[in-house]
Symmetry: C2
DNA sequence: TAGCGCAATAGAGAAAATCTATATCGGGAG
DNA sequence: CTCCCGATATAGATTTTCTCTATTGCGCTA
């Protein structure tokens, strides 16, 4: 019951008048009398001199005043701080992301997020899917942005579909046709961007299932290196669409469709501990990501209608 | 009701366990549940993640933690501060004193006070009785040490009897006899120490009533100057006993009794606003002054038995 | 799957805070 | 000098809130 008492103390001190203070606090005067008495009881000293012309601080009251102000001040400040956080106008956003997501999709997202919530400080840690899951479980990060994963403690909030696309260099024989079949592709030098990525196995399976063995392959450990390899005509590569949008648009790489039109996409999600509610910056980030995911989804619903305009949209979303 | 809630918050945070915290606070677990819920309600965010293995802070909880600590900390600190003050182990003692009191009686008092309450900071202002009264009324000082005065707002707490005594230089004709009558004294050059002091009029009245006019007088504006005048054989003086104790004891001045044994004493009191309770340093000072006053009173009850020993006591009390 | 530990919930009972009405006190005006 | 005004204190009834007991529900572990 002490808070109100301290607030009373401050109000009475400020107005020098019990009745006036009571009015201001929407209370009756006897209530204030009682509260102050209780406070004085608790502290062991009278805080006010009661006169017929109002209330005046005693020495003890004067001594206690700064503490009272700090008490109420701290509380108000704390409340403000939480409100700030709730409106994502402050606080910290800690994100873990797998390399592809962190490098290509996240910067665009964070640019928008930072614009909308300039006072939130952001930290990003990178790691492979399993590491991201771990970080999320341990609350080292609030959200883990990676491919969909299952864990009883974790819920996955879908962000977007990440699709593997075939890119070649502009002078490549596929470029003019804009399309190729798996057999043709299998004859090319194939550049793989990450041995640990789930895409690695997925791609290999694709050729295996088509009856193609004997692949000429080259492995590098990051997407950017793979792109440079392709640009230098060392081969062709299956890369995440988000990673090549910009290179394709600038003409450094060319997108080639695949006749068999294989399904090579996976869901990129935000992992979050089930038991930690998404509030403040986290909630704001998820909301933002959702609206952007919807835009992209609608674009992907009609892939045959893909136009330069939609390509630009993608660029806008993820670069 | 917020204080307890914040305390609960801290306890639960510290122990990570509601039931354990409840035990520690001598409450039941449902009570804590309710309190925390109320606090979360007030703040608008959940502060804890409830799991089957205890309670864990949410992001909001982590943010609020330092504020909670400051709230409770400030209160505890304030309480400590007042306790300190109550035991006169801190705070400030503001005293106003008339010149005679401030110069001769007060230093001895304050020496003892400071020894007993080393952490109290002391300030002394000097002025004439009326000014002291004013200061006390305006609470510029907590106590006014001066001659007894009446005012409806003020109560007077007797400190000691200040007595006017006759002092002469060691080579004076009165010295060997140790006694003189008013007529003889009236023939001397009389040195007065403060035209504004109530003693001034009192002394003049003494001679007037004895039928003696035509006094040879010299006026200075402070006691110390008057003493030096007497030492330099410029005359004799009626001075407050407290002001000459040391000079008499060291042989620079000599005390001479007066045959008529006139009543020339006044009560020195501590003036205090009636409506401000004496707490902390003020109370401690008054108590100290009282015990010393009693010693002196008992010494004065038998003036004829005044011995060197008692003189020494006086010295001890007021120097 | 039963048991254990922990937190949430429901409902009764206890405690407290609050209000209305009244007393009291001090000061200033007539 | 008395009355009245503005201030706080006090008393008692009422309402609110808090707290407790008992129980439920959930997740983990043996």
């Amino acid at each position: 019951m002490l808070f109100r008492q301290v607030e009373c103390f401050l109000a009475v001190e400020r107005l020098g008048n019990l009745s006036r203070a009571a009015e201001e606090m929407f209370l009756t005067q006897p209530t204030l009398t009682a509260r102050l008495k209780a406070l004085e009881e608790e502290l062991g000293d009278p805080l006010f001199v009661r006169t017929s012309r109002g209330m005046r601080l005693t020495e003890a009251g004067r001594e206690f005043l700064p503490y009272a102000e700090r008490i109420v001040g701290s509380f108000e400040e704390g409340k403000r701080r939480l409100a700030e956080l709730r409106g994502a106008a402050g606080g910290r956003l800690r994100i873990g992301a797998s390399p592809g997501v962190g490098t290509y999709a996240l910067p665009g997202l964070l640019e928008r997020f930072a614009a909308a919530h300039p006072r939130v400080s952001i930290s990003v840690r990178t790691g492979h899917s399993e590491a991201i899951l771990e970080m999320t479980l341990r609350e080292e990060v609030q959200l883990g942005l990676t491919r969909a994963m299952r864990h009883p403690e974790i819920e996955s909030l879908p962000l977007y579909q990440d699709e593997l696309v075939l890119v070649v260099d502009p002078d490549h024989r596929f470029t003019s046709r804009g399309i190729a079949n798996l057999t043709e592709i299998g004859e090319e030098q194939l550049i793989f961007f990450d041995h640990d990525s789930s895409y690695f196995e997925q791609t290999h399976a694709l050729f295996r299932n088509a009856g193609i063995r004997e692949l000429r392959t080259m492995e590098v450990d990051n997407i950017e290196a793979a792109k440079r390899m392709v640009e230098h005509r060392l081969g062709v590569a299956f890369l995440p669409r988000t990673a090549v949008v910009r290179s394709v648009s600038s003409g450094n790489l060319v997108l080639v469709s695949i006749e068999e039109n294989p399904e090579m996409s996976r869901s990129i999600v935000a992992l979050k501990r089930r038991d930690v509610p998404a509030t403040g910056p986290v909630a704001a980030f998820l909301e933002l990501a959702n609206t952007m995911g919807e835009k992209q989804d609608s674009a992907q619903l009609s892939p045959t209608l893909a136009t330069e305009f939609e390509n630009l949209q993608l660029i806008d979303l993820f670069t």
